[in-house]
Symmetry: C2
Subunit: 185 residues, 2 copies
C-alpha cells in the first residue's frame, strides 16, 4: 500500500501531527539514526498517502508562500502502520559502504590501515556519545517504561544502537591488536 518512506512518515505522524516541513526536520533529527529523506521526496509522498486515505491535512497559518498544511494519520493509516510493523522481515538488500571499504584493507600498508581503523573508531565514538545523550533524555521520562508509549520504542531502539556501537568499538580495538600482532613478512 505505502512505500518504506510512506511508513516512515506514518510512524512520525502516529506520534504527533506535523507539517511537511516539520516531517523533514524530524527525519534528520529524530529518525535520522535509521531513516532519512529529503523534503523533495516527502511532499509528493504525503500527497500519495492522502490519496490512499492514510493521512489527512488541515491548512494552518504559516510563513511560506504556499498554504501550510498540518498532516494527521487516519484510522486506516494507523492500521496500515500496525500491519507494516509485523510483516515478516524479508532481508532487503544490504549496502554498507564502511564494511565494503574495510574488505580491501589488505591493500593498505600497516600505517595507513591503523589510521583508517582509528577514523572508523572515532566515528563510532561520536555516535555513541550522541546516542547516550539522547537516551538519557528519553529514559528520564517514566512513559519510556510503558510498552504502549512511543517513548518506550524510542528507548529500546536507542539502546540497540548503543549496544551495536559498543560492539563496533570493541571490534576496532581488536582489529588494531590484530594489525600489530601479525608476524612480520
Amino acid at each position: 500500500m505505502a512505500s518504506s518512506l510512506g511508513f516512515a512518515l506514518l510512524s512520525l505522524l502516529a506520534r504527533q501531527e506535523r507539517t511537511g516541513y516539520e516531517l523533514s526536520q524530524a527525519m534528520r533529527r529524530q529518525v535520522g539514526y535509521f531513516w532519512s529523506a529529503n523534503h523533495s521526496q516527502i511532499y509528493p509522498e504525503l500527497a500519495r498517502l492522502e490519496g490512499g486515505g492514510l493521512v489527512v491535512h488541515e491548512v494552518i497559518d504559516g510563513a511560506g508562500p504556499r498554504p501550510t498544511k498540518r498532516y494527521a494519520v487516519t484510522h486506516a493509516g494507523r492500521d496500515a502502520l500496525r500491519r507494516f510493523v509485523v510483516t515478516d522481515p524479508e532481508p532487503g538488500p544490504v549496502r554498507d559502504l564502511e564494511t565494503l571499504r574495510l574488505w580491501s584493507i589488505w591493500l593498505l600498508d600497516p600505517g595507513a590501515a591503523r589510521e583508517f581503523i582509528d577514523q572508523v573508531r572515532a566515528g563510532h565514538m561520536g555516535r555513541l556519545a550522541a546516542y547516550e545523550e539522547r537516551l538519557a533524555g528519553i529514559a528520564a521520562d517514566p512513559a519510556s517504561r510503558r510498552p504502549d508509549e512511543p517513548a518506550f520504542a524510542s528507548r529500546v531502539t536507542l539502546e540497540g544502537g548503543i549496544r551495536v556501537t559498543r560492539a563496533n568499538l570493541e571490534w576496532c580495538d581488536w582489529v588494531l591488536g590484530e594489525l600489530g600482532s601479525a608476524p612480520p613478512c
Copy 2:
C-alpha cells in the same frame, strides 16, 4: 571516478580475476553480507570501469550465446581502490527497515510485540550461524593472520559481523525482559 558498485566490483577483481557472471555470483555469496547487485547493473558498470581504464577484459571460452569475458584490475584500478578505502567516511544516508519497524512497536499489543522480537531474534541467530561457519573456514587459512592478504580482511569483517550480531541477540533478550517487566496499566 567510479561509483560504489564500481568499487565493489574492483574489490572483488583485486582478489581474483572473474567474468561478469562470476562477479554476480560472488556478490550474492562472498560480499553479500555488506553489498549486493544484480547482473543487470554489473554488466554496464564493467563497461564503464573499462572505459575509465580501471579494468580490462579478455575473451575466453564459455557457454553463453555472447562472448564470455574475463575481467582483471589494471594498475590504475588498484590505485583507485586503494584511494577509495581511505577516503574519509562521510556518513551516507542510513536506511534500516528493521529499526524503522521497531520504532512503532508501541502500537502493538504485548503478545504481538513479543512475537515480533522473537522473529527479529531468529533472524540474528540464523545470520550468526552463517557468519561463524564462514569464519571457521577462513580462520583456518594461515594467510588470514597476515594483514596484506585478502583473507585477513575477510576475517576481520566477519569478526565484526559476528560481534554486532551477538550484540543484537543480547539486545533482543533485553527487550523481551523490558516488555515483560513493564508495570500493568
